[in-house]
């Protein structure tokens, strides 16, 4: 039984300490965390950004990542999308009794790897163990603090007519990779989740232009939902061209099979940028030099027409409204 999580691991006693010391500290060590005080203390001055997110992905291991990588990248990206440079993360794990310690270690290793890539430190943490059946294997919550340089003002409300809409790469990879692993739907394909920290890509974009107006990562709800959020927040219209939106062949095929539209499928390593038209090409060129932006492209522009709405020119030419995702994505039946 010593190879799986016991309720005693959450008792606060000896086993709890052992869990932290053997399974978390060796991988995530840093001066603030190592102290094991009740709170982590750090220095920062200027404008700070704070965000939090919970991760309950099923399955917890998927092609191209796992819940640990997702928990780091997701929070890093949320900070990044406001132009903040991520500094510190906290991480809480709710673990179901019986969860394998070996799997936990694998996930903590992947947290370490993602945090190293994003150059953030995890300086505070917590673990809880719940009875079997009260959680599904492992839930992780991360919060993050980032610092915003003076003069940077990136917000979903800043899009203006004439701005160009940039997309950093292919859409739907994460959602389809996860769906391919779901119980009852398993299909094999050479597709990995795009889960990635985007802070370096964004800092490179900000180096070449100070006229990035909005940034957003199209996660749940996909590209369509993100574009609608931006149109609504900025009270502008957005027009995009379907033919310009890059979609991998595997994603296209899976979407055809399941009756889904890739613009509604989740991403975890992509961003949408709304930028001043004068800087669009410069930003695009810089994005393409980063491996996470290699397939970046301009997909559309911001307009004063149809405020709050997203209009897509279909592959055949006519235009149609693109609404937000409603309900769950369910495969078709016939």
């Amino acid at each position: 039984m010593d190879d799986s999580i016991l309720l005693a691991h959450g008792s606060g006693g000896k086993l709890s300490h052992e869990l932290v010391e053997k399974k978390f500290l060796p991988f995530l060590a840093n001066p603030a965390l190592n102290k094991l005080d009740d709170s982590a203390i750090f220095e920062a001055s200027g404008r700070l950004a704070l965000t939090t997110d919970s991760y309950v992905v099923n399955p917890i291991f998927f092609p191209g990542g796992d819940i640990g990588k997702l928990a780091v990248c997701g929070t890093v990206n949320d900070l990044t999308m406001n132009g903040a440079r991520p500094l510190y993360l906290s991480l809480s794990a709710i673990i179901e009794e019986g969860f394998l310690l070996s799997e936990l270690e694998q996930i903590v290793r992947s947290i370490k790897k993602a945090a190293e890539e994003a150059e953030v430190s995890i300086i505070a943490g917590d673990t809880k163990v719940v009875n079997k059946g009260q959680a599904d294997k492992l839930f992780i919550t991360t919060s993050g603090v980032g610092i915003i340089s003076p003069g940077v003002d990136i917000s979903g409300a800043n899009a203006r007519a004439g701005d160009k809409v940039l997309l950093s790469g292919t859409i739907g990879d994460h959602g389809i990779a996860i769906m391919s692993q779901r119980e009852g739907l398993r299909f094999s394909m050479a597709l990995e989740s795009d889960c990635a920290p985007l802070n370096k890509l964004v800092s490179q974009m900000m180096e070449v232009s100070s006229r990035i107006h909005c940034l957003r990562d199209p996660t749940r709800g996909g590209l369509a939902t993100t574009l609608n959020e931006l149109a609504w927040q900025s009270k502008v219209g957005i027009t995009v061209e379907e033919a310009k939106i890059p979609v991998k062949d595997e994603v296209k095929a899976a979407c055809e099979l399941l009756g889904l539209d890739p613009i509604y499928v989740a991403n975890e390593g992509k961003l949408v940028a709304v930028v001043d038209p004068a800087d669009a090409d410069k930003i695009l060129a810089r994005m393409r030099k980063n491996s996470y932006g290699r397939h970046a492209t301009i997909i559309g522009e911001v307009t004063n027409e149809h405020p709050g709405k997203v209009v897509m020119k279909t592959k055949l030419g006519p235009s149609r409204i693109v609404d937000m995702l409603s309900g769950e994505l369910l495969p078709r039946i016939c």
């Binding site: 149809h306 149609r320 409204i321 409603s326 078709r332 039946i333």
Partner: protein, 367 residues
């Protein structure tokens, strides 16, 4: 990408649209039978590509939508029986019924599981020998062979706790019922692609012969549909209606014999209750007596209150092609994909859902 991008080619589509516009002189009305076609037509903006002389209506080809309220009430009542697991395709669980929905029953503790294949339902039965597993069998000729196969699999593996509530329906008889009613005048029908893969083109021959209506079977990519419309317009302009296949890579003249044999082995033809249309003779599939122990209708009895339709909902009219979704007063206001009143707004193949999701800039004021 092979077999997808080729059928979405912009230049070819514009060329076909031009050809249709050149050909079309008469004002005509076409019906796409299949919900999959409705979605493709709206998603790619095909209505805006065809000339104004060609009016397009959506038909009854959405399995979830045509399921009668009384039948859905029965499925929900079955869900409340002790030791029963209901297995169903995804969209069904959200459809509001007379007094509840499968989703509501699930929230109240009924064991209802979404499956992607009927064989998964058999597996659930195998894994739960102490429970009765009932699969809600909806769909047309496309789905019926797979449901037949699941019953044969259960028989072969001696899985006695697997049952099917057969609500399966057949397409040619309901087309006949629509044409007989004369409620809306049609000049041509965009024939269902997937159904025809199974049954072939011959079952539609009565359409041009008895009603003088053109019928061309179409695939689901935009070029397939434009090619189909072109053929329909050509037939109608020449006054020579017939059955044609504009989807030869999917539909063979003989259809799929093996699938039909499976269907015939397990099912027999009987009447079916269609939402918005009513009882249509010879339009449903019932489990044959030989397999009756798998027939949920025989194995369980539930008492049902009389069904009632949601007030103001025009799904029935939409299914018959008698109303366009925006003509319904509830459309986009009371009835949305988030809080659907009728099945046509729920299903991924429903006409209302397609009109809502793929509105054009011109007609979106309603939302």
């Amino acid at each position: 990408m092979k077999f997808i991008d080729e059928y979405q080619d912009n230049k070819l589509a514009r060329g076909l649209a031009y050809k249709i516009a050149q050909r079309s002189t008469k004002t005509i009305r076409l019906m796409e039978f299949c919900g999959g076609h409705t979605h493709a037509i709206l998603r790619y903006g095909i209505r805006q590509l065809v000339p104004k002389t060609v009016e397009m209506r959506s038909g009854p080809g959405c399995p979830v939508c045509v399921t009668a309220t009384a039948d859905l009430d029965k499925a929900i009542a079955l869900a409340y029986l002790p030791d029963v697991i209901i297995t169903t395709f995804g969209d069904m669980i959200r459809v509001p019924s007379s007094y509840s929905s499968l989703q509501q029953a699930k929230a109240e503790g009924a064991d209802i599981r979404i499956v992607y294949s009927t064989i998964d339902a058999v597996e659930i039965a195998k894994a739960n020998p102490g429970k009765s597993v009932i699969f809600i069998g909806i769909g047309f000729e496309t789905t019926a062979p797979t449901i037949a196969a699941s019953i044969l699999k259960a028989q072969q593996d001696k899985i006695e706790n697997f049952h099917v509530l057969s609500l399966n329906k057949l397409t040619p008889p309901v087309m006949k019922a629509l044409l007989d009613s004369g409620e809306i005048k049609l000049d041509g029908i965009i024939g269902p692609g997937h159904v025809s893969v199974i049954i072939g083109p011959h079952p539609y021959e009565f359409i041009p012969r008895d009603y003088g209506v053109a019928c061309v079977i179409s695939g689901f990519e935009p070029l397939d549909i434009l090619l189909c419309i072109d053929k329909l317009v050509e037939q109608i302009e020449k006054g020579e209606p017939k059955v044609e296949i504009a989807y030869p890579r999917g539909v063979k003249p003989e259809g799929n014999r093996k699938a039909r044999q499976l269907m015939g082995k397990v099912f027999e033809i009987g009447e079916a209750n269609w939402r918005g249309i009513g009882i249509v003779p010879q339009s449903g599939l019932k489990v044959r007596g030989k397999y009756e122990r798998f027939d949920a209708d025989k194995a369980f009895s539930v008492s049902l209150k009389p069904p009632r339709e949601p007030e103001g909902c025009r799904c029935g009219d939409v299914i018959r092609g008698a109303a366009m979704p925006p003509e319904c007063k509830l459309f986009g206001k009371v009835c949305t994909p988030e809080s659907p009143v009728g099945p046509c707004m729920v299903s991924s193949e429903g006409a209302c859902a397609a009109y809502y999701q793929y509105g054009t800039p011109e007609n979106s004021q309603g939302f």
